[in-house]
């Protein structure tokens, strides 16, 4: 069905197709050519009213996949805070918990402390690389399926359909005057929006506190004000962004479409209209009369009607296309009805399209996924993930840091010995209290240590200190060396007195009147 004239006219320049040029609609739009641009018309409007999108119901493989993704993502969102995870009596039993008050992040068996924030940074880097990977392989799949804005907009559009009916009914209702029926319908619809929004905002806060407790406190008005404020803000944003702003968030507010558009290349999967097969478009009747003059597109506008962002995919790649593939479902259905092969609108790479348009054989889509760029992204992504898992698996749960007093750096005692003071931080990352031994390493015999709680009369070469579960205990330690000692460097050794026997060593200095500053 490839029309050679069209191809010649649109495929002329060296180096490939000009996808912008392949669109007769803009140029040929009679309104654009006359009414809007006649010299006698007033200057162009700099602002425009939003054109409401009333997308039509469609069923098909991609729509069903979208249902599945929506179900899975919403389930994860709502169920996760309720999963329990036993960590013993000293730690919360919530599987996923961002405990801001105590500065801990729990995720199943992983527990992140503030000083390990690099794990979170690593996760964010992985998320960014994951975005690169997914975008270079399957285009804007994130936008089309799993972005919360997409999922909630989809949900709200189903509410529209449920209350107001399908596309045509909604367009009629939009234009209808504000009579009792319309007010009732709008009231019911917006109430459902509000309930969904409340559930959305309400579930969010459960990630930040013990879910069952907070859930009860929330309704008995005993939760902290910040909980209500957070729910309020998220309810409003969900209601407003999901219920009313919808595709405008993607088009005007969100940076992802720009970033992702910059990351697409000719080998990325996109939802594209195969104009070489569809053009010139014409009604079914015309196409029947002159089968040689028309392409497969019968200009039925089903692809436009089902689009949740209200674009015409036949105009080519554009920032408004979130690649949700509903137009593929719609077009495939029409193609089946008129007895043409499916895939006039389809997931394809620009390279595939070019080859197909030129009549060459095309690579399989799988080959498009596995190419150096995606493999490199995957290697880096997996490398970082593997390294983090390894680090998490092998990290010690006992840590000691030492900072020597600088003012005064040393202290002369009555008996002539020199004393130094240190602030020790004993970190116990186990969810139980542990006895730990702090010992001096590299100091001569006769050196003594005591702390702010263990008096000088109990001074010894090592001390045993109990560190509470999941805590860092700060201990002020005092160390003296015999008067004859000239040591100026030593270390504290921390050993956990349990079957783990973990240890950490922290080197530090011993200042004395003779030591160099």
């Amino acid at each position: 069905m490839v029309n050679s004239d069209t191809l010649a006219s649109t495929n002329g320049e060296a180096g490939g197709r000009d996808w912008g040029k392949a669109l007769p609609s803009a140029k040929a739009d009679p309104i654009a050519a006359t009414a809007r641009h006649a010299p006698s018309q007033p200057p162009p409007e700099l602002y425009e009213k939003r054109k409401s999108v009333h997308n039509k119901r469609i069923d098909g493989p991609f729509r069903r996949f979208k249902w599945l993704v929506m179900f899975v993502t919403l389930t994860i969102y709502y169920v996760t805070p309720w999963i329990r995870w036993d960590r013993g009596p000293y730690a919360p039993d919530q599987a996923v918990l961002i405990d801001l008050a105590n500065r801990r992040f729990y995720m199943f068996d992983i527990e992140i402390w503030p000083h390990e924030f690099y794990y979170v940074a690593g996760l964010l880097i992985m998320a960014a690389l994951g975005l690169f990977l997914v975008t270079s392989a399957v285009g804007r799949a994130w936008c089309g399926y799993s972005c919360p804005q997409t999922v909630w907009t989809d949900l709200f559009q189903h509410v529209d359909r449920f209350i107001d009916g399908d596309r045509n009914a909604r367009i009629r209702l939009d234009k209808a005057p504000w009579n009792a029926a319309k007010i009732t319908k709008r009231g019911v619809k917006w109430s459902i929006y509000l309930i969904i929004s409340l559930l959305t905002g309400g579930a969010w806060i459960l990630y930040f506190a013990d879910a069952p407790t907070l859930f009860r406190d929330f309704f008995t008005l005993e939760a902290s004000p910040v909980a209500y404020v957070t729910v309020g803000i998220l309810t409003f944003t969900t209601f407003w962004l999901g219920g009313f702003m919808r595709e405008q968030v993607c088009i005007y507010m969100c940076p992802w479409p720009r970033i992702q558009a910059a990351m697409l290349d000719e080998k990325s999967l996109i939802v594209t209209y195969k104009d070489y097969r569809g053009e010139p478009r014409g009604s079914l009747k015309k196409a029947k009369q002159h089968p040689d003059e028309y392409g497969d597109c019968i200009d039925c506008l089903q692809c436009v009607a089902v689009c949740p962002t209200g674009i015409d995919i036949r105009e080519g790649q554009q920032v408004g296309c979130i690649t949700c593939a509903l137009c593929i479902d719609a077009c495939d259905k029409v193609m089946a009805d008129i007895g043409r092969p499916r895939g006039l609108i389809d997931y394809a790479t620009l390279e595939q399209c070019e080859a197909e348009a030129a009549g060459k054989s095309t690579h399989s889509t799988w080959k498009a996924l596995l190419r150096p760029r995606t493999l490199a992204y995957f290697a880096i992504w997996g490398g970082i993930g593997g390294a983090m898992l390894f680090a998490l698996g092998t990290r010690t749960h006992t840590e000691l840091t030492v900072s020597p007093d600088r003012n005064p750096p040393f202290m002369l005692m009555k008996d002539g010995t020199i004393r130094n003071a240190y602030t020790l931080r004993l970190r116990n990352m186990e969810a139980r209290p542990r006895d730990m031994e702090v010992a001096l390493a590299g100091l001569p015999a006769g050196s003594l240590m005591w702390t702010d709680r263990i008096g000088a009369e109990q001074a010894a070469f090592q001390q045993i200190i109990t560190v509470p579960a999941n805590e860092t205990r700060i201990v002020r330690a005092y160390v003296t060396v015999p008067a004859t000692s000239t040591v100026d460097e030593f270390a504290f050794r921390l050993t956990s007195l349990d079957e783990q026997g973990e240890s950490d060593i922290a080197e530090t200095t011993f200042a004395s009147p003779t030591s160099q500053p």
Binding site: M411, L412, G455
Partner: protein, 320 residues
Amino acid sequence: MADKSRIDEPTGTEFVGHEWDGIEELNTPLPRWWLWTFYATILFSAVYVVLYPAWPLVERATAGVLGWSSRGELVEEMGRADLARAGTFEQIAATDITKLPADPDLMGQAIAGGAAAFKQHCVQCHGAGAAGYEEFGYPNLNDDDWIWGGELAEIEYTLTHGIRWEGSDETRSNYMPAFGDVFDADQLDAITQHVLSLSGKAQSNATGAELYAQNCAACHQPSGEGDQMQGAPALNDAIWLYGDDPAQVSQQIAYPRHGAMPGWSDKLDPVTIRMLAAYVHSRGGGEYAGEATDEVAPETGEVATDEVAVAPEDGGDGQL
């Protein structure tokens, strides 16, 4: 000027009519709500200017009808913090200082509070690290040498009543006689040598020993261990308030300097003084009354989890 009615071929968008060196501006209309949002921000700023401090004037900014100010907010927050601390203060006030170490949590709070008060009231003389200044005779509070006693109660007493402070009848006071007019130069030299010999810094001699026994031993004790009851410093240790150089020791015997410290009972409340005493005691040289081990909180068993939140030293970054 470019023609407004032309449209850009590839995009089908009309030109606005602006051109710079062949680069022309296309008209991509902004959404109308964007414009309204812009107007809303203008309205917001107008309301804000009326409600909050906004226009800078010579002395201060315009007040704003809400009367809000960052200083006022600070005062409010400090008030709330004081309120939150009130319970701990009451507890400290009700606890005798000798019983404080038995409650590790409360002791930790007292030390932290004392560290804060120390920075405000004490560092001027004793220094930020509480190490004192030898050249001025401000004593070091970190060591284990105490002129007037290093137990908690004694430190609290010193803080309350001061040393040679006219503000209190019970102030700690003594005056070492000046021997500059009593001894001649040789005698002064001899006794200086003897005093230094008490801590092994010099060789003793008969004249010095005799003079010491007659003039000094009553307060400083025969072997030089001093007497905290009288505020007579120990002479047999390594720590010298005014220096251990023979000239400095000799100077102190001939024409002694007498340090003074103001009592704080007229400036600070008893709780703050108690917390300061706890802090000074915790600097590593504090003494314990009698069987010291009974006073010290043993390092065993349960430790209140929030105890570790109290950074005893620097009040710094807590448990991070």
